[in-house]
């Protein structure tokens, strides 16, 4: 990172290769749209390059990176630059999103996976931006509450509360979907 701060673009490319999937995944969970997620990811990495001088080696780089990412996503959504998209299984070019290769699972499992994905995405849309951020960092990036607190400039107690509310909300949505989708199927079997 110190080399990036000195303008070393090769070091920056290595940093990008290592972390871009996490950032893009986070941005995608945030806006639920592939094109917007890539725009946000691009902005976030350019910001990291431009502000690399502010990074202090005693801070964990991943925390610094997600602090930039979360602030950028929260600001852009706040400014109205991005609206959380309606959940779709396909991008603008008709490419299937977020789904594993069809041959990896049975058609029933593939449909169920897409429905679960849509249910989770819809539940995330109903959360506040901070709840969504805390949930995404915890559930999809595996970050500890302490690190999420640092990313959000919040106390650990506040993060615990954000994550609990978000997880419970998603859990109830998934439970309701399962009760509706799987219940009748089970009774038919």
């Amino acid at each position: 990172m110190l080399r990036v701060a000195a303008g070393d673009t090769a070091a920056f490319a290595a940093l990008y290769d290592r972390h871009h999937r996490s950032v893009a995944r986070f941005a995608h969970r945030f806006v639920q749209d592939a094109g917007k997620a890539e725009e946000l990811t691009q902005d976030i990495f350019v910001k990291v390059y431009r502000h690399a001088g502010r990074y202090r080696p005693q801070a964990r780089f991943r925390t610094f990176l997600f602090r930039v990412a979360a602030n950028h996503c929260l600001n852009e959504v706040r400014r109205g630059e991005y609206r959380v998209a309606h959940v779709s299984d396909h991008d603008e070019e008709g490419r299937a999103l977020e789904m594993p290769a069809p041959e990896a699972q049975s058609p029933e499992r593939a449909v169920e996976g897409r429905e679960l994905e849509a249910t989770v995405a819809a539940a995330l849309q109903r959360l506040s931006a901070r709840e969504r951020t805390a949930f995404a960092l915890c559930r999809f990036e595996g970050m500890a509450y302490r690190d999420i607190a640092e990313v959000l400039s919040a106390s650990e107690a506040a993060v615990k509360s954000l994550i609990h509310r978000a997880t419970l909300s998603v859990a109830r949505a998934v439970d309701a979907w399962q009760a509706g989708a799987r219940g009748p199927a089970r009774s038919e079997a």
Binding site: G7, A24, A37
Partner: protein
């Protein structure tokens, strides 16, 4: 749900509570069926969410990001580093050394010329008296001490 530990259930499942807090939640769960149901729901959901496939960004994104970064103005530290790199420094050093040699040679010639001009100016009167032209530096010394030499030659 009105249990006091309900707020702690997610952190409990995530392993984010202290040993004391976790023991308190465990003890409560043993006695509360409602919280056990919530805990099971949370665990099931966390497992299912963890299984969701991850979004994969396009390879074109890498090209766009690196192109935008390459187009940004370089920080001063990087510019100085580039100037001081061996690739940039070697030709500059050769040019600098060549310039120094030229300066020394030109400087020496100029100094010699200036010394000769000063000597001519200082001895201008003698030069006109003796109608000497095309003097070499050694001749000036002779001219300068001509009177003395004449005296020594003809006591």
């Amino acid at each position: 749900m009105s249990c006091t530990v309900e707020e702690d259930l997610t952190a409990y499942v995530d392993g984010e509570l202290s040993m004391v807090e976790a023991a308190r939640v465990r003890s409560h769960l043993a006695a509360c069926a409602g919280c056990r149901l919530t805990e099971a729901l949370l665990r099931r959901t966390m497992a299912e969410v963890a299984m969701l496939p991850a979004y994969e960004p396009s390879p074109a994104l890498r090209r766009r990001v690196l192109a935008e970064v390459e187009a940004l103005p370089r920080p001063w530290s990087e510019r100085v580093r580039r100037w001081l790199s061996p690739g940039a420094l070697a030709p500059a050093g050769v040019a600098l050394a060549a310039a120094a040699v030229v300066a020394v040679v030109v400087g020496q010639r100029t100094a010699a010329e200036r010394r000769q001009e000063l000597a001519v100016a200082e001895n201008y009167e003698l030069l006109t008296d003796y109608e000497l032209v095309g003097l070499a530096p050694g001749d000036l010394e002779v001219v300068e001490h001509l009177d003395q030499l004449l005296k020594e030659g003809h006591p």
